[in-house]
Each structure stands twice: as structure tokens, then as C-alpha cells.
Symmetry: C2
Subunit: 318 residues, 2 copies
């Protein structure tokens, strides 16, 4: 570093966060546990930080972005499936009839996910996701989905990594839906992504090996599935976990059960103007018992409207 | 770097390897793919190296070391199971009757593994493995098991990491049997271990969350299970893979299918004096069709007797 006067003042590691108790809590935690003289010091190998994705690292309204991918896949595959024109839940998708689609229930939604996510190889699915994520636009925000990530959370990921935390995604979203783009967008390697998965099958394929994606659930990485997924993929309890809904409560409790000092972060979607505002009654990202427990246990609950100067990276240039 | 004359000669990155075509092939590969001017350059994110464990990073004779752990667990648990005295396969274990034990077949061996590995929590199992690995001795070598790792392979792991490869274990052994000690012994973090696993269940346990280990197979990380496990945990094809038996062939083929330049390494156990010599007819670590395919495809097959100056780290001081 140079000896210029500016280098005396430490740069703000979280420039898109407003000063206040939440920003201070995060910075104090990191400074404390990385100080080898502190009783709360955490060895580098234990500095595991896990982040939910939908609603925590990027937006999730009006429906999970992966579901838009599935709907686009139904339309792309419709020519091969003429029977879909008269068969629910496909009919509703092809007619852009969202109310009817939402009435198809969990079984209908699962059918859409399986028929659009399985039946191909891992390499083929990777290509499909890449070309979709590079081009598709959010219907309300009119932005590519990867533009709808949260700038303050990108800074938090960087800040943790600069302090030798290993950052992971632990999401209910599909692991193979996230892996193609999270390296570039979040700086999180593919092997540090935990997500919902389907079963696979290896085929030697006459010397050109492939892995086929089967229409059978492997792991639902939500609620109880989050600590299960953390144990399966990471093998130790995190010391830092961030989420935004009741589906993250088990992950935050698992982190809280770490005998090492730990930090639990909840994102509360309170900004109806810049993003969306929803919590206890939302059909997506319901945040109800998690909010009560966070308050009771003194976990850090981010108020998006108050705590974040900007939401999305593109606002930096506005 | 300093200008001292000694710095002109580069240190040998693989000092326990004898000079020769195999050592040269490894070093040339690494130098080539990390040279940004080379047509074979591999970006850092793709520098994934996967290593089998039993017979590749440590010895595996006369039986897999994890099986010695299971036998010791049977003996430790026998007081709680008086019925085992007269019930196979436990009777054979308690009477140290190996011939009868080996006649119990796959079903008997699986029963021993399940009754000694499941039925506890992940934290409890971690403690059991730690105290066993810290104290138990190999019956023939009279050394702790972690002393029976291969010094040349430790150097290879270091060499790859020094060149920004991310090193993983991909083993048929139990993932939770390996995780407690591989960080200290191989420098491989817990979350970079892929192995066979059993299913688990999360229990809130009145505010003290636990994960219970169930007597149900999740993944058998051997043969076809290796590419499956690599896809599940790592999410991309490796560019370097090392194994020692037919159980690694699918992993090496999967690596070979990487469009990027890749390296396939087989360890051939040829040293009956310093370690063990076995291949085509062995009941442990059978190396038969893998050996034929390696020769046919020009993969690198290490001859332990010829290529390695020493086998175990403790030989450095002898
Ligand atoms: Ca979420
Ligand atoms: Ca092996």
C-alpha cells in the first residue's frame, strides 16, 4: 500500500449499508471472532458462513425466479408435447393463466418442475440455465434476474471472505439451477452451493460418459432440509447464517447451536418502493415464526428500507 | 524473491518421488495447464483434483482401515448387546475369528457397518472417530492409521494446491469417518470430502438441535457412485483424478471426459516389502480392468516400488 493520507482511514467494508446497530453488529462480530486475542476467536477452518439465496441474496417476487425458468421451459418444450395444450398444469402455463396455475397446488407445481428440470443430462441442463439466465427478463423489474441481487449482501459476502470466512449458499432452490451462474455473480464456487436436488444416474454412453437427471427428488433443502444439507455438504456447523423466511429457521437454529460464537441474520423485506414488502402472510418467503424467534433470541433482523442505501447494483450508477 | 544464488535452482516439488517418466508427466501437466500462454491453460475455478482415499492416500491392507474401526466399535458396544455373543456376524468379531467373519458376505459386513455407524448423532460419531483415530494401531504395521498415509501423495496434494488446484477426496469410505481427521492429515477441508453416506434426520431436540444418523444407505461413493458423488458435491468435472482400483475407473473416465486438458493417475501397489503388492486378484483394491484401460489409454500408472523413494512420512527420519 502507498503512504497516501487516505490509506490511514480504513475503507468502509459495507458502503451500501446505513450506519446503525445492525451494520455495527455485523462488523463487531467479524472483528471480534477474527482477533486472535479475543476469547471469541474462531479458527479459520471453522469460519463457515451460509446464505439462503431467494429473498436473501436476490429478490423472489412475485414468484421464485427459478419458477419463471420452469415456465419458460414449458413454453420452449410445448412443440414436443402437443398434449400439453389441453392438460393442466401445462395448459395454464401456455395460456399465461396465472390464477389457474396457482390453483394446481403443490402437485401441479412439482410436475412442472420435474418435467422441465429432469430427463436431460447435467451438461445439457447447465447450458439451458446459462442461456436463460443470460437473456431472460424479470416481468416486473424489466431487468435480467442476476441484476436483481442485493448489493449490500454482495458487500457482506466480500467482507466475510476478506476475513477468511468460506461462504456457501444453502438454498431451497435447485443446486444445478444455481451453480451455472453463482460463481460469476456472488463469487461462490460451484462446490460451495447446497440446494435442492434430484437423483442422477451415470451412463458410460459408449465412452462419452454422461450423468442423467432423473424425475426423483433427492434432497429438499428447506426447513429441516437445511441443517441436513449443511451436514451433508459442509460437515460442520456454520458460525454465520443469513436467511429471510421461516424456511431458514432450522439453519439459523443449527448455527446458533454451534459452541463457537455465531451470528444469525434475517433479512426483513420492508421496502415496497425499491423492492417488495412482505412477511407474515406472504405466499413466497413467509416470515412469521422466524421473525418472532429472531426477536426473542436477539438475532439481527435487517430492515431493508432503513438499513440499505441501495438494493440493487445498478442503483450505484443512478 | 531474493537474488541469492540458491533461489535460481527451483526446489523439487515432489522430493519423495524418484525422477522418471511418471514424476515428469505430473510436473509437466501442472506447468502446462497453469501457464496462461499455453493452449492447455486451465482457469483456476476449473482446477479441481479428486483423490480416492483407501489405497491412494493411505494403505488399505489387510482390510480397509474403516473396517478395523467398525470391529473395535463392535467390541466396545458388546456389553450393551449380550445377544451378540451367539449371533453372527458379531460372534466372529468378538472371537477375533476372521475366516468366519469373511464368510458372512456382504450382508454381514453391511450389518456390522450399520450397527456401529448409525444410531447416534453426527456430533457423537465425530467424537468416536476422533478418539479411535488418535489411539488405534494397525495390527501389522504397529503404527497409528494416520501414520500410514503416503508421503509422495502428501507432496502431490501440496504441489497441486500451490498451483491453485482445489483438492478433494472422493472415496468409497464413509464421509463422516473421514471428515474428523482429513483436515489435519491431508490439508483437505471437511467440505471437500466426498464419501459414502447414510441418511440423517434433524431433530430440534427441545432447543438443542441434533442430527441423527439413520441405518439407511444414502450414497455408495464407489464405481458409478464416484461421478455421481462428484456431480453432487463438486458440480463440475475434475481435471485431475487419482485412484488405485477398478472402483476408481468411472471417476477417471469422468475426468477424461472433461473437454479441458486432464490427468488420470493410478497407483499400482507393487511394493511387498515396504507396503503391500496386489492388483488383479486382490479382495481389497482389485486393480484389473482399470489397469488394462490405463495402459490402453496411456494414463499414468505409478509403480510404488520404482517411483517412490519412501512410502510413509515416518521413513523420512530413518
Ligand atoms: Ca429465502
Ligand atoms: Ca481405493
Amino acid at each position: 500500500k502507498t503512504a497516501e493520507p487516505t490509506s490511514i482511514v480504513e475503507a468502509d467494508p459495507l458502503p451500501s449499508w446505513n450506519d446503525g446497530p445492525r451494520k455495527e453488529a455485523i462488523i463487531s462480530f467479524v472483528e471480534d471472532v477474527t482477533d486472535s486475542a479475543s476469547p471469541n476467536f474462531i479458527p479459520v477452518a471453522d469460519r463457515i458462513a451460509t446464505f439462503d439465496n431467494d429473498g436473501t441474496l436476490w429478490s423472489e417476487q412475485p414468484i421464485y425466479f427459478q419458477f419463471f425458468f420452469a415456465l419458460d421451459r414449458v413454453k420452449a418444450l410445448a412443440a414436443e408435447h402437443p398434449e400439453w395444450k389441453n392438460k393442466q398444469p401445462y395448459k395454464a402455463v401456455l395460456e399465461n393463466d396465472m390464477p389457474t396455475l396457482m390453483q394446481q397446488g403443490e402437485h401441479g407445481l412439482l410436475e412442472i418442475v420435474m418435467s422441465t428440470h429432469a430427463g436431460n443430462t447435467t451438461d445439457e441442463f447447465d447450458s439451458l440455465v446459462r442461456s436463460w439466465i443470460d437473456t431472460a427478463q424479470h416481468p416486473v423489474k424489466k431487468r435480467r434476474y442476476t441484476e436483481l441481487v442485493f448489493q449490500p449482501m454482495l458487500e457482506l459476502l466480500d467482507f466475510l471472505r476478506a476475513n477468511d470466512f468460506k461462504t456457501f449458499i444453502v438454498s431451497g432452490g435447485g443446486i444445478e439451477f444455481m451453480r451455472p451462474w453463482v460463481e460469476g455473480v456472488y463469487g461462490i464456487p460451484k462446490d460451495q452451493v447446497v440446494g435442492s436436488s434430484i437423483q442422477t444416474e451415470y451412463d458410460y454412453n459408449n465412452g462419452k460418459p454422461i450423468i442423467k437427471r432423473l424425475a426423483k427428488i433427492d434432497l429438499i433443502d428447506d426447513k429441516e432440509g437445511k441443517p441436513i444439507g449443511i451436514n451433508r455438504y459442509i460437515g460442520r456447523k456454520p458460525v454465520f447464517a443469513a436467511g429471510n423466511s421461516d424456511g431458514d429457521l432450522q439453519m439459523l437454529r443449527w448455527t446458533d447451536a454451534n459452541p463457537l460464537m455465531s451470528f444469525q441474520l434475517y433479512i426483513h423485506h420492508t421496502d415496497s418502493l425499491r423492492e417488495w414488502a412482505y412477511d407474515r402472510d406472504s405466499h413466497i418467503g413467509k416470515f412469521d415464526i422466524g421473525l418472532d424467534e429472531a426477536i426473542e433470541k436477539g438475532w439481527t433482523v435487517i430492515d431493508m428500507q432503513t438499513d440499505w442505501k441501495i438494493i440493487y447494483p445498478f442503483e450505484k450508477n443512478q
